[in-house]
């Protein structure tokens, strides 16, 4: 991808899953990459796997203090941040009727408040310096309804509207887009499926398979690159056509 060489990239939730694949992809493109994650153990693993990483920062995005400290560290390590992959997120499977206030607060704190803390910290830096690109991980769950993840879905819809509003306010210096992945087969997700469950979900997807984390990483690379210089405020769905039709399509 054009224009990613030597770009300074910060990836939250970067120690596993889509974030880790995205870190590997940007390193391949010649970028300088720092990952931020609250999971210290996963952080050690990714540092070992991707030895070219400029840094692995431990922080919980739901704490503004920790976000600001980690962001300063990222600037120390890389000299600045040109691209933010605002990706950290959690989900809890539960019935709507049984969601506790604590669970609700926790999901909102990481997926929406945390995304805001990181986005605002990075945007202030980018607006003061040479601009940049902010890409946020939404989900097809932020576009359509899915049972048992009402709180998660609400946060992802929130990320989408946050993205569009940021794009309007930060243009033309900073481009802001969201990526809405459908089903992605991360190692963690695979471990939760039996073979039969995997097959059943695959049948619902026109491409008849889950995305590989690397395929979502490739989309982040495209959107961060110069090839996407006129794309801002867009929510990019990468779901194997899962949401191209509703339930009626099946």
């Amino acid at each position: 991808m054009r224009g990613l060489d030597a770009k300074r990239v910060l990836i939250t939730g970067g120690a596993s899953g889509i974030g880790a694949a995205t870190a590997a992809r940007f390193l391949d493109e010649g970028s300088v990459v720092c990952v931020l994650d609250r999971d210290a153990e996963a952080g050690h693993r990714i540092q070992h796997e991707l030895s070219e990483l400029a840094g692995v920062l431990e922080a919980d995005v739901s704490s503004l203090e920790q976000v600001q400290a980690a962001f300063s560290d990222a600037i120390q390590l890389m000299g600045g941040v040109d691209v933010l992959i605002n990706n950290a997120g959690i989900s809890i499977r539960h019935n709507f009727l049984e969601i506790t206030p604590e669970e609700w607060d926790k999901v909102i704190a990481v997926n929406l408040t945390g995304v805001f803390y990181v986005a605002q910290t990075a945007a202030r830096h980018m607006m003061e310096h040479d601009g940049g690109v902010i890409l946020q991980t939404a989900s097809t769950n932020g576009v359509m309804g899915y049972p048992y993840y009402a709180d998660y879905n609400a946060t992802k819809a929130g990320v989408i509207e946050l993205t569009r509003s940021m794009a309007l306010e930060l243009a033309p210096k900073v481009r802001v887009c969201a990526v809405a992945p459908g089903y992605v087969l991360t190692p963690m997700q695979r471990a939760e499926y039996t073979d039969e469950m995997l097959e059943e979900v695959n049948r619902k997807i026109p491409l008849r398979r889950h995305a590989k984390p690397e395929e979502i990483a490739a989309l982040f690379a495209f959107l961060a690159s110069d090839d996407a210089a006129f794309i801002t405020g867009h929510v990019f769905t990468a779901d194997g056509a899962e949401t191209a039709g509703g339930l009626a399509s099946r």
């Binding site: 991808m1 569009r164 509003s165 794009a167 309007l168 243009a171 033309p172 459908g182 997807i205 026109p206 491409l207 008849r208 995305a211 590989k212 395929e215 979502i216 490739a218 989309l219 690379a221 495209f222 090839d227 996407a228 210089a229 006129f230 794309i231 801002t232 405020g233 867009h234 990019f236 769905t237 990468a238 779901d239 194997g240 056509a241 899962e242 949401t243 191209a244 039709g245 399509s249």
Partner: protein, 255 residues
Amino acid sequence: MQLKGKVAIVTGGASGIGRATAELFSREGAVVLIADVNEAAGKVASEKIVKSGGRACFERTDVTRAEECRRLTERAAREFGAIDILFNNAGIIRRATILDLSEEDWDRVMAINVKSIYLLSREVIPHMQRAGGGSIINTASGWGLAGGAKAAVYCASKGAVVLLTKAMALDHGPQKIRVNCICPGDTDTEMLRSEAQQLGEPSEGFLAEAARRPLGRVGSADEIAKAALYLASDAASFVTGTALVVDGGGLAGTI
């Protein structure tokens, strides 16, 4: 090179977004078959690619005619052995309310902007199925997602392209044929300038108005071509049924 060894058909390839895409696909290693009704410009576009070391040819094609779509597809399959990428890009615009639009113009816009995708894709898809997959990219518009003034039939046609894209993605996904569309905002092409003329507005004021969007400018044909390149390439291997908006933030909200 992101499209090394691939074969691509580009309709409306003689000018504007189509021509920029044909050139970019060629630079990325694809063999390009340019289809257009404008023979003179189509030949110039194809010769320019050949002169710069690429492989391209031109086939005069009216994509609203079934037999011409068949001839185009047969030529691509015969000469290049496969069709990996189809860019259904041919399109026209009529700037008028329905009260000022002739029935003939309604039919013509719908035929070129929508029916052509049906006619050509139904020829090309069997070849892609036999080859084990492919990528189809349709040119829709920001006005396929939101309404625009004095552009009724154009909006209707581009809205149809967006949902035709999604329906085709559902139908042909299992055969690994990805189908996506691009929704450009105002793009610096002859077509954009023709709109000022159709509306009877001075071109300068019209273009200044078109640039009123978050990035503060209209897009270039090359920027739309780069979006088409992404969707055509293996980098987009899980992307299908999507409408990629390339509009400098124009649809993100009001400024």
